[in-house]
Amino acid sequence: MQINTSLIQAQRDALTPILKPDIRIPFKILCYDSYCEKRLSTIYRVGDLREMCITLHFNLDQIRERLHGVTAIYFIQPIQTSIEKMVDDFNRDLYSEVYINFSSPVENTLLEYMAKELSKISGAVQKIQKVYEHNLDFVALNHNFFNLENQVVNGLFSIIIALKIQPLIIFQKNSKIEQIAKELIEKLKQFEINSDYPLLAIILPDRDIDLNTLIMHSNTYGALLHDTLNIQYNKVKLEDQVYDLSPQYDDLWLQACNLALPYAIDKIDNELNDWNTQYQQVSQQNQEISSALNAIDLVPQMNQQKKMVDSHINLAKQLTQIAKQKSLDKFYQLGQSILQNDTVAINDYPQSEDTQIEQSKEIDKLRLLILMLLNNYNQQEFKKFEQLFSIKNEKYLNILSNFKQRVASNQNNKQQSAYKSLFAAITSKMPNSGKGLLKNVQNFLSQGKKSAIVQMLENLFLNELKIDELQSILTMYDSRVKNISRLEFGLLQTIKGILVCFTDGACYNEYAELSEFAKSIKKVIIYGGNKIYNAEEYLLQFQ
């Protein structure tokens, strides 16, 4: 059976019935709340909406005028505030014909509330053509990258339905995730899933297995952009300009997101050269009618291409400038050394003469110090660095002391450490190949240690000897038999792909690592979490 492992395609398919309720309607307008706007905006551009005869689109918060004669499609989250806003539109008699779509199943009380409020307005109920509820509680950021915005159970359920798969849910025992996994399983048990659908292993690990990846410095284009300029739902704002990083419309982003920065810059440069050659070819063509017409045809496409290349040049320029100023490459290397239990000399840290620059690096210093704490780095050495860095930001100091306490209590808590060490035993036995060689590779090009989640997947799918050990840590729910079943080696051959979801934060760094791993096992790996953090956002939770 043909399945589609692209979340974007799945989201597109799921959104189509909303946007095309009836093909006979000549013109439509679309109204959505901010929650649903995110689902639409990472998938569709204005042109796509036009293609579906939607000529105008509004956020419910936008000031709108009365538009009679057209059909309005509402796409909202089933919550009180959004329903209130919609009822208000009916009060103002904005549109003459309305379709209502809820992003997730509506609670009965809310539907009653809506019915009651609309009954008060004369002629309101008659305007309603249809009411639908959907399962659209995830944002597809890329073909294999998602954000659940804290709607974890509904979100995962939506993904399972949208991808048309049978899930094998593998979660960590005795962890925070267990409750969520059980809720999801309960929800799944109430549904019948087509037994022709392919299998997808859904891995729900505890964030505690790996905080390093969220905190350490990365070398990939996507992760660095998110760390320095903050990517919000595929948008980056830089000097009042919004850059759109769409995997569908921006081929460069699709290719370069998970590449190490130098490779990404190479790619951008190549793209620019290609464009220039094409431009020259077009402009050198002779002035015949037919070739002139062809050239005109090329204008919009080339214009778009140029815009894409230009935006990446701007972003990469800004990024390299920041990376150079803050010597992020050095931080990356120091982080890697700490992970590999190498001692780092205080001289390795490039201190700048400029106090302002040093101050701008406080978050990076904090990240390095926390990385040392998490990896039981030598106490005395840690103190040296702490002194050298002398962080002044109150918030950051709070976070640091918070982490010190956490680490200390973790060491005292024997039960937890026993569990942790069991896991560590599994993950740390992986050989670190070519460790000596890597040191010679300069800057961002050095390859890092495999993150815990990648090691976990390796053990689960590639290492026959580890499966018994993992049995005591992981539980697997098989939706085919609607029950818990034993983990067996050889799962990889039966599944179509793997989905990894963290319920305590996901990041671009981990996304890049899993994409790399996916290539090596030749399977699709879909990754995401309740929220996509950059290091600073993540740490600020620990104030």
Binding site: L67, A115, Q126, I160, V242, Q304
Partner: protein, 270 residues
């Protein structure tokens, strides 16, 4: 038990069952003139697209011996009529762009019309190309036939009767070809003039680029702009606050000095 493969559920009845008032049918509003014209234009565009599709399938089945030029040409002139009608509609619509909705609908129809005229143009181009190629092929074949006939004439003199027959045949073919060639020439000229017409109407590159720009806009652009405006507004407020507070300090100082002078004046001079 629900089937999970259905991604959405129609809950209209469930909703209506919760409405406890008597529903009176609403009078259907008459859509306004603009929307009606826009609808007409859109239907014309759709019709033109269908015709183009028909043209495409017909021209695929056209071969050297299955000449459907007449049919193709009539489709082309129909499409041309459609396009010029669409253009009239668009010009009508253009005068009524008084709100966002009308503007967006106008853009939408215009965009669609442009796409149609574009594919029309491409079809005509490839059609002309194909006619030219067929013409060349035919000429080549004719040349070969001449040679074959000559050889037949030299080697097999005893078949003179046959030969003359062939000759006669050949001549009639040639005449037929000539007639066909003339027809082709006329139709090609027709097509070329059509092409120029259409090119004149729709080759406004500026509009194309502008429409293209809107097409790739993110749909949350408004939200972003609103945020940017809010942050700009805040900045300005802060600045004016700063200005005002610095003014306030100055005013206080002036008054303080005035008071001191007044005090000195009252106490010591009066």
């Amino acid at each position: 038990m629900e089937i999970a493969s259905s991604q959405y559920r129609d809950i209209t009845q469930q909703f209506l069952s919760k409405v406890h008032i008597k529903l009176v049918a609403l009078k259907r509003e008459q859509p306004n003139q603009f929307l009606l014209t826009a609808k007409l234009a859109k239907e014309k565009v759709d019709a033109a697209n269908e015709r183009l599709q028909e043209f495409h399938t017909t021209s695929q089945s056209t071969g050297l011996f299955n000449d459907q030029d007449y049919k193709l040409n009539s489709i082309l002139s129909q499409v041309k009529d459609d396009i010029s009608q669409i253009h009239i509609h668009l010009n009508q619509l253009k005068t009524q762009l008084n709100n966002d909705l009308n503007q967006s609908i106008f853009d939408f129809v215009q965009q669609k019309a442009m796409k149609t005229s574009d594919s029309f143009k491409k079809l005509v181009q490839s059609h002309t190309q194909r006619i030219k190629q067929q013409e060349e092929k035919r000429n080549r074949l004719n040349g070969e036939r001449d040679r074959v006939i000559k050889r037949v004439g030299f080697n097999q003199k005893y078949q003179k009767l046959n030969e003359t027959e062939e000759e006669a045949n050949h001549q009639s073919i040639q005449m037929f070809d000539q007639k066909q060639n003339e027809e082709k020439l006329v139709s090609m000229q027709k097509i070329e003039s059509m092409l120029n017409d259409i090119a004149g109407v729709f080759q406004r590159v500026g509009t194309m680029v502008r429409l293209q720009e809107t097409m790739i806009e993110r749909i949350d652009k408004y939200t972003d702009e609103a945020q940017v405006n809010v942050s700009k507004g805040r900045k300005e407020l802060q600045e004016s606050h700063k200005r005002i507070s610095s003014n306030r300090g100055l005013i206080l100082k002036v008054f303080l000095i005035l008071f001191i002078f007044a005090f000195i004046y009252i106490v010591f001079i009066l």
